[in-house]
Symmetry: D2
Subunit: 95 residues, 4 copies
């Protein structure tokens, strides 16, 4: 099932500045081959649900390996079977 | 990776009353064997991330089969490797 | 506007264990007089949107006062004007 | 309290295509004077929490006026008092 997700990964207990960890997350998402786009509050990702969630799990596993003891993660997504729609289509529909 | 998730599945375009669909979601979650608990705004589920996300995908697939053309879903979760913690442990820690 | 919200407040940078902070959050919500119910992944709150969000802001302000430099917060909510519905009604509709 | 929020407003029961409603939401946010940026899964907004939440409430009220009987809304945000940070700063810290 194809989804368009908005993902936010929050490392807990490692200080208020977390950009070091988010750069690792970005690298893993980038290597996944999934279509994505970072924004100030998260990352939009598009792809098969199993591929997206496996990538999210890989990101969390990497942060644990880096010493992050606890991670909070939000993922909201939509799926539709009434028509094909990409992230670009969603924005274009508002023009 | 074990996660404790808060899940909310929102069927779009099928009227304001969606309890018929949420009952189906509950039945699929119940049949998954995962530990879960419904609350007024969603469902808490606990288990391996791959099992939880496969169950969420099964719920969405079922709603599409029932004629829901578009679904919005939120899933927030936490994972920790500093200690083992269940949903019950989380509430108990506040007592 | 009346809303039924699911709230999760995540203190960042203060260690993996945050129950000390969540107890403060609970006390502030309790003192607000709003109808609420904690669950393993957050707190459901019901009331006028301005009252709910003022309470959430008071919780965040308290955590900052306690030394939490950064806070991540999720609040999902629903509002409907087609009928009156409480948190209890939502669960009852699934029976 | 200044927040940087990621907002998603989901009109329920009015069909799978909701761009007509999201354009109204955009107009209300635009008129608020708050700094914002739409992305494929939502809108990032920056400002005082009371101003942001009043704007979100105005959006929901408008949709109800347009005949949307039920609305689901997600708002995740962060607040920090350890340093001043804008949406642009957040993205820049990843470069």
């Amino acid at each position: 099932m194809k989804i368009i997700a908005d993902l936010c990964i929050v490392p807990m207990g490692v200080g208020a500045s977390v950009s070091r960890y988010i750069r690792e997350v970005r690298d893993i998402i980038d290597a996944s081959g999934l279509s994505y786009e970072m924004h100030p509050n998260g990352t939009n990702i598009e792809g098969e649900m199993a591929a997206v969630t496996a990538t999210v799990e890989a990101c969390c596993a990497k942060l644990h390996d880096m010493g992050v003891g606890r991670i909070f993660c939000t993922m909201s997504f939509s799926t539709r079977n009434d028509k094909h729609q990409t992230m670009a289509d969603k924005l274009a529909s508002l023009a």
